[in-house]
């Protein structure tokens, strides 16, 4: 079982003092939720779990420990591993201070989709996977569901099921078995100018400027953020449509070419704004213009917009 593998790996790492602590998953408030667990000693290893709902990207938590020169173990899925590359490439957290515990992943269940059909209010006791079926054993009953029907949207277009970077891999490598077709972006691109405007106005109107999308983002790793500054007041703080539009555009541009498309921004948005679609639009454009891969997928590929190439299309010339 993966859970046991995680526990034994972490115990060994902590006992041998190879790492100072581990960021993993702990049980959340209900069967469909996990919470980040920070395990500093062997006694605390018991809190670690693995769940088919383990959606959180844990890599960014290392940013609470900048300049401390400690070694941190992080449990990452394929998508989260791109965030590790992001933080290393941006020189935010050195690679040698990471101990990356990779988990090959065939898709994570979307709690909201599952909760529509099943009662997830109990605790997750255990789960088993048989082929493409998952059996969830919760304190409120046992549920059997077809994984393919309940995955997170991002999992249907996952190109890196196996972490792209790891120090230890728990389980067999999963060969990439899906491709990203950017259907969500294309659907909006195909709308008329007025429809696009109306769609995004409706989305940006909802924004309460909580900055959760920025806080969760592994590409948002500046020490001072333009959205926090009052002097000069680069971006208005008022939550109205104009200022919100400015905020979302600027946020998207500030991570352009570095966004690893982990999808956390959309997930944490309390108002349900598809924040990540803006990033995905730019990733799609960059792939078309510069023939690059999703940032973070290829550790050799530097930041797309920070690379000079003589064959740049130069649309602005």
């Amino acid at each position: 079982m993966l859970k046991e593998k995680i526990k034994s790996t972490v115990t060994e790492l902590l006992e041998n003092k190879r790492i100072d602590f581990v960021i993993g998953y702990g049980a959340g408030s209900d069967a469909g939720t996990v919470r980040p667990a920070f395990v500093k000693s062997v006694e605390e290893v018991e809190q670690l779990i693995w769940s088919p709902f383990a959606v959180n990207n844990l890599a960014k938590f290392v940013m609470d420990h900048l300049y401390e020169n400690i070694k941190i173990g992080v449990i990452v899925k394929g998508c989260d591993s791109r965030s590790v590359i992001r933080l290393v490439q941006d020189k935010v957290f050195p690679r040698e201070n990471f101990y990356v515990i990779g988990v090959p992943c065939k898709g994570i269940l979307d709690k909201n989709k599952v909760a529509k059909d099943f009662d997830l209010s109990g605790d997750l006791v255990d789960f088993t996977e048989q082929g493409d079926e998952v059996i969830l054993k919760t304190s409120k009953g046992e549920f059997k569901l077809r994984k393919e029907d309940y995955l997170l949207d991002k999992c249907y277009r996952c190109e890196t099921p196996t972490p792209v970077v790891y120090d230890v891999l728990l389980g067999e490598e999963v060969a990439p078995f899906r491709t990203d077709d950017y259907e969500d972006v294309k659907a909006i691109e195909n709308l008329s100018v007025e429809e696009k405007s109306r769609y995004w106005d409706k989305q940006f109107e909802k924004c309460i400027r909580c900055y959760a999308c920025r806080n969760v983002c592994s590409a948002c790793n500046c020490r001072d953020c333009v959205f926090d500054m009052a002097e000069p007041n680069w971006v208005g703080k008022a939550a109205n449509l104009s200022e919100n539009t400015a905020f979302h555009l600027i946020r998207a541009w500030h991570v352009a070419g570095r966004c690893v498309d982990c999808g956390e921004c959309s997930r944490v948005c309390p108002m349900g704004i598809p924040v990540n679609t803006l990033n995905r639009k730019m990733i799609k454009d960059m792939k078309e213009l510069f023939a690059v891969e999703t940032p973070g997928k290829n550790p050799e590929q530097g930041p797309v917009l920070g690379t000079f190439r003589t064959d740049d299309p130069e649309e602005f010339m």
Binding site: N240, E243, T245, A246
Partner: protein, 53 residues
């Protein structure tokens, strides 16, 4: 930048970006004319016009 502006519903032609050297006077003039013409044809901008507080 232009592409994202259009993605969120600005009209194509509302926003222009050009790289012009200080010695390319003719290009400055041509670009300014083109931008003015295209934007005039589109009429006043309606997006992002709320008052700043």
């Amino acid at each position: 930048m232009k592409r994202l502006f259009e993605f969120i519903g600005f009209e194509p032609g509302r926003f222009h970006a050009r790289w012009i050297s200080g010695s390319e006077a003719q290009k400055v003039v041509e670009t300014a004319r083109k931008v003015t013409e295209e934007v005039r044809a589109l009429g006043p901008n309606k997006k992002m016009r709320d008052d700043r507080c």
